[in-house]
């Protein structure tokens, strides 16, 4: 039986010491879907995202990506991570490498592409995020928005099946947010499956297929954006959305 | 195994060497109590002068620092001990050691303190001067306390090196810890006194090494 979901998280628990951050999450994402994950800080949304590529080891539960259970013994997690792109709040570009170097590193070391081939792939990926002209620039020569787009290209170049975004615009000056959202919009239109943890509610309203609200390590409710934003079922969701709207 | 214990951890020999070795340990502590403050005071002077605005003051001081940092401390010591008598100056061993250490450690303390002073923003000096403090008062009350705190790990690390370095005084027959242990070894033909001395060095310095590891990792984090 094939799994209808590209990402299928079941019964996910995660504790740090005695603190339970995720208390039993069931979360599915279908192919070409864009799912927004929202919730107060400390609700566990970033941890959920990090469990999806096993940057955090789940305490219990399963994470299945593209039909492969990542938590099963013997799974080549590094191979699977090529298919799961991740974008971080603080970009995490390698400061000692150019934009192109940042993108080619995994192409060469993980996909074993040759230098020329990797450079070509990297340039194509940078082109997609509008950064081809900055291929030889170092991260400290780029604005925050430009750095984040290079970070997206770094993930895109590996041709992932799914992309995880961990608050991709939170560290950006307001005037730079648009350029990154534009790239994400383009990716959505080209059919990329995406999970986005973010506070950009406008963008969620415009682009998301589904919004998932997490609080206290559990999914409180989820639904299409129009329903979630105009008529949420639970008071907790309503309170959170009211607070975010006023922020 | 037995031969190892017999030669290195021989309790009977350690016991008979203990008084000599402890006396040496006392001499090491005395040496530290003299050369560390003297070197630090010299370092303070080096730092203040090499940070001066006048090139006439600064350049000779930088030359002094680089000159004496180029010599291994043991070389300075031997030259003072064996060379100065040719110029009619015959220093007792303790004075020779103190002079050699002063020339060496004042440079190292000086470089560290200078970096510390440079790490404090100009605004601090300006603020202090604007309240009417003299340059010297501003330096001692405002700049130096912050500077010392900023370079505390380096200062501790250098002091650790100075304490270890006192062992070279054994070469000019100053009866400090290593010299006493070496005497006891050559009398007993057994290395246990050296192990005993190593144990005393560890007792004194291991806590400092641990402290330094903590400080460095905390700064790195």
């Amino acid at each position: 039986m094939t799994n209808p979901y590209l990402l299928d998280v079941r019964g996910l628990h995660k504790s740090f010491g005695h603190t339970e951050v995720l208390a039993g999450i069931d979360f599915q994402v279908a192919e070409r879907e864009l799912v927004f994950v929202i919730g107060p800080s400390g609700s566990g949304k970033s941890t959920l995202l990090r469990c999806c590529n096993l940057l955090e080891e789940p305490t219990s539960g399963t994470v299945t990506v593209d039909g492969v259970d990542l938590t099963a013994p013997g799974v080549d997690i590094n191979k699977m991570r090529q298919r799961i792109g991740m974008v971080f709040q603080s970009f995490n570009l390698y400061p000692h490498m150019t934009a192109s170097g940042n993108v080619t590193l995994a192409l060469r070391k993980v996909l074993k592409q040759g230098r020329a081939e990797a450079a070509e792939t990297a340039l194509a990926a940078l082109e997609r995020v509008g950064m081809a002209d900055k291929a030889e620039a170092f991260p400290n020569e780029l604005s925050g928005g430009q750095q984040q787009r290079v970070a997206i290209a770094r993930a895109l170049a590996l041709e992932p099946k799914i992309m995880l975004f961990d608050e991709p615009t939170s560290a950006l000056d307001p005037e730079l947010v648009g350029s990154v959202l534009k790239v994400m919009q383009d990716m959505r239109e080209s059919g990329m499956t995406m999970v986005v943890v973010s506070h950009e509610m406008q963008f969620a309203r415009a682009a998301a297929d589904r919004v998932t609200f997490i609080d206290g390590g559990l999914i409180v409710e989820e639904g299409p954006p129009e329903q979630m934003f105009s008529n949420p079922t639970f008071p907790r969701t309503r309170e959170f959305l009211a607070r975010v709207a006023h922020a | 195994m037995d031969i190892l214990v017999e030669n290195f951890f021989n309790l009977a020999i350690m016991q008979s060497a203990l008084p000599t070795v402890l006396t040496g340990f006392g001499m090491t502590l005395l040496l530290v109590a003299v050369v560390v403050p003297v070197g630090f005071a010299g370092g303070l002077l080096v730092a203040l002068v090499s940070g001066a605005r006048s090139r006439l003051l600064r350049w000779p001081m930088i030359a002094y620092v680089d000159f004496f940092r180029a010599f291994p401390p043991l070389v300075l010591l031997i030259f003072i001990h064996a060379g100065l008598p040719f110029a009619g100056i015959d220093l007792p061993a303790f004075a020779a050691v103190t002079l050699a250490f002063f020339l060496n450690t004042s440079c190292y303390y000086g470089e560290i303190l200078r970096a510390g002073i440079e790490s404090i923003g100009k605004g601090q000096m300006e603020a202090a001067r604007s309240t009417g403090l003299t340059k010297l008062l501003a330096m001692t009350n405002v700049i130096l306390p912050q500077a010392v705190r900023n370079v505390l790990p380096d200062l501790i690390s250098n002091t650790l090196e100075v304490v270890k370095l006192t062992s070279i005084a054994s070469v000019v027959a100053l009866p400090e810890l290593l010299y006493s242990a070496e005497m006891a070894r050559s009398i007993s033909y057994n290395a246990s006194p050296i192990i005993l001395a190593a144990g005393l060095y560890l007792l004194l310095l291991w806590p400092v090494v641990r402290l330094l590891s903590r400080l460095e990792h905390r700064l790195a984090a």
Partner: protein
């Protein structure tokens, strides 16, 4: 002979200088040889130990920490005397050169391990996560992403430490290694004249002034990274 003549005779005696210059030159090259071997082996040892420690295998980590602590706490001269005079009694005999090389390599290795380790630890966790999220292994991340950044931070302290430890080659004179200091003091006692000491001093200045100036340059060149 007036005072000045006597001073020149004792410290800058051309006959004595001519006679002992060759042995000081020998000492100079031996010091260089010893120093280079210590620097290469010590830094390599420190790097390997730091890499092993980043694999977080607890029992091995503890051994490395113990080793690094001991060698940082003990005066090198104590170790040299122990290795040279005491080890033969258990059947291990090494030349003075080997003893000094081994001791100072172990000491430099201990300091270098701590410096590399501090550099690796100082790299932001996000760098690890970003690299691992693209499928790089732990080792690949360490080598390609973390180490190149860590090494920048480690260059100034490592340079200073290396210079300080190579100067300890002078301790070789205590166990009969024919390096500069040993040649100078031997010549001084044979000739009853201080000129060989001046030659020795000149040799040290020739060798270490460039090194010290280089160290100063490294400090300022990399200063921006230490904020």
């Amino acid at each position: 002979m007036n005072d000045w003549d006597r001073f020149v005779f004792s410290f800058f005696n051309s006959d004595v200088i001519e006679q002992y210059l060759p042995s000081i030159v020998d000492g100079f090259f031996l010091t260089c040889l010893l120093a280079i071997q210590i620097v290469v082996a010590g830094i390599a040892l420190g790097l390997v130990l730091a890499l092993i420690r980043s694999l977080k295998f607890t029992p091995v980590d503890l051994l490395i920490v113990l080793y690094a602590d001991l060698l940082r706490a003990l005066p090198p001269l104590v170790l040299i005397i122990l290795f040279y005079f005491a080890l033969p009694s258990v059947g291990i005999s090494m030349s003075g050169f080997t003893v000094v090389w081994l001791t100072l390599t172990l000491v430099l290795g201990a300091f270098a391990e701590e410096i590399f380790r501090a550099g690796i630890v100082s790299i932001d966790k996000g760098q690890w996560q970003a690299a691992r999220s693209t499928g790089l292994t732990h080792i690949q991340t360490l080598i390609s992403v973390v180490l190149p950044q860590a090494i920048r931070i480690t260059v100034p302290p490592l340079t200073n430490r290396t210079i300080a430890i190579t100067k300890n080659t002078a301790l070789g004179s205590v166990v009969g290694v024919g390096e500069i200091l040993n040649q100078a003091t031997t010549a001084q006692s044979f000739s009853g004249n201080a000129s060989p000491l001046m030659l020795g001093a000149a040799a040290y200045l020739l060798l270490f002034i460039p090194v010290v100036v280089f160290g100063r340059w490294i400090e300022t060149r990399f200063a921006w990274k230490r904020q």
